[in-house]
Subunit: 238 residues, 2 copies
DNA sequence: AGTAAAAAAACGAACGATCGTTATATTTTT
DNA sequence: AAAAATATAACGATCGTTCGTTTTTTTACT
């Protein structure tokens, strides 16, 4: 699996993504023309991600956002109804893309080992390509209003469920050991998360995403792999 | 190893901890009497952790803090010189305690496997007992001013270095496999982190810290354990 | 032991700055 | 000319912080 493939995929569909973004939130966006909306939603979103990931969403002022996006504060409010609403929109979109791409890329794969590896690689590469989104989504979840936070948590658990299910399939097929699948899925999730939460660290150590992916897949594979009990092997030769 | 032992240790020394806190930041604290300072530093710090971990430090106002701590806004400024300064103080103290307790608890242990397990258990239990501190420290690092952030990152890397060194010792002693020790240390760190970042999830699943500790130690041990060489895994699907 | 002066600590109103948001005016596109 | 989009200025609310005052505690002295 190649990261460039995913990069292209996301990059090419960037406009599509924002088109969806626009249509999904049409109620709160007062702009009529799609191409105008898309153009400025890109500016607004990217500026928001940049500023928020630097010093936190609540520390970002609308004047900051105005300056960074190139739109006046008044114009901004044609694209969302409130600051909280802007947070909701970006958060929602982030999780939606994540679960959609992940589901699509593992759909139809039979072999549990392949499927698990594919899920890991996809999540990792996607979080690499959409790093600001993932980082934002994690950091700002607690700033969401109650209802939105519930939904965000629910989607996150659904992503984890994907991994749980794959492991269960592998166990039924007899290719994975009978370990606590929820624990292992949680572990995978934590390690996937570390890649985008501690990006600065891995960058500093010059570890590319491919190396991290290989390492992570290796760890998981070796933990789940069905093996002969080593003690038995040893004793049989004595 | 028992979590209650650590709990007692931290609990008993709570006042001591705040006494250190007080003396270390005497320059910026205008209160003279130690017992007064300690009493109110406890109130202020616990209120800050509570409010910040709920909606973020920058979203917490000094009026919020005043109400939650029981001190007037004016009085608060006898305990720190600015809001940023308060953030610095708590952040610093958190990391300082973590590295001090961790170092003390593994000091003198010869056996690398024991030492690694002890480090994992200590970090995990400590983050359980001091959960609000750990969560705060992680979430608010990026809100620190440049110099303070550099220092925070440096301490975090020093904690990771502890794990790297233990793994290196184990490899030299021949009890750990020759794997990338920095990667494994990073993995351990990520999984330790997950415990206090996703506490709600593990609580929801009724997984106590002891179970998580055992799982994590098991994963790491099984990955590092020296085994008979297995055949090369086919990675053609990657 | 009692009390007045001094020191320490806490209070709370008020400062200017900045916040999110909106109403109105202006510019751009249709 | 109409509609759509953007800009500007201003609103009240709230922010971090300060400062003069009041309350509490300690000290000093009879």
């Amino acid at each position: 699996m190649d990261i460039d493939a995913l990069k292209d995929l996301v990059s090419v569909s960037k406009k599509d993504m924002y088109r969806n973004f626009f249509h999904r939130h049409k109620k709160q966006i007062r702009i009529k023309k799609e191409h105008v909306a898309v153009r400025n939603l890109i500016k607004i979103t990217e500026a928001t991600l940049m500023l928020s990931n630097r010093k936190g969403f609540s520390a970002m002022s609308m004047r900051d956002l105005s300056a960074a996006s190139g739109l006046s504060t008044g114009a901004l409010y044609s694209y969302f109804s409130s600051k909280d609403d802007l947070l909701d929109m970006i958060q929602q979109e982030s999780l939606r893309v994540a679960i959609r791409v992940l589901s699509a890329r593992i759909d139809g794969i039979r072999d549990p080992q392949l499927k698990l590896a594919q899920a890991i690689y996809t999540h990792l590469y996607l979080s690499e390509v959409m790093h600001p989104w993932f980082y934002f989504s994690f950091m700002e979840t607690k700033n969401l209003k109650k209802r939105a936070r519930r939904k965000a948590i629910e989607i996150e658990l659904r992503i984890e469920k994907i991994f749980i299910d794959i492991i269960a399939e592998g166990q039924e097929a007899g290719v994975f050991r009978d370990v606590d699948k929820e624990m292992v899925a949680g572990m995978i999730k934590a390690l996937l998360q570390d890649w985008y939460l501690k990006k600065w660290k891995y960058g500093q150590r010059r570890i590319p995403v491919e190396a991290y992916a290989e390492f992570l897949a290796g760890v998981v594979e070796s933990y789940l792999r069905v093996t002969v009990k080593t003690e038995q092997v040893d004793k049989s030769w004595v």
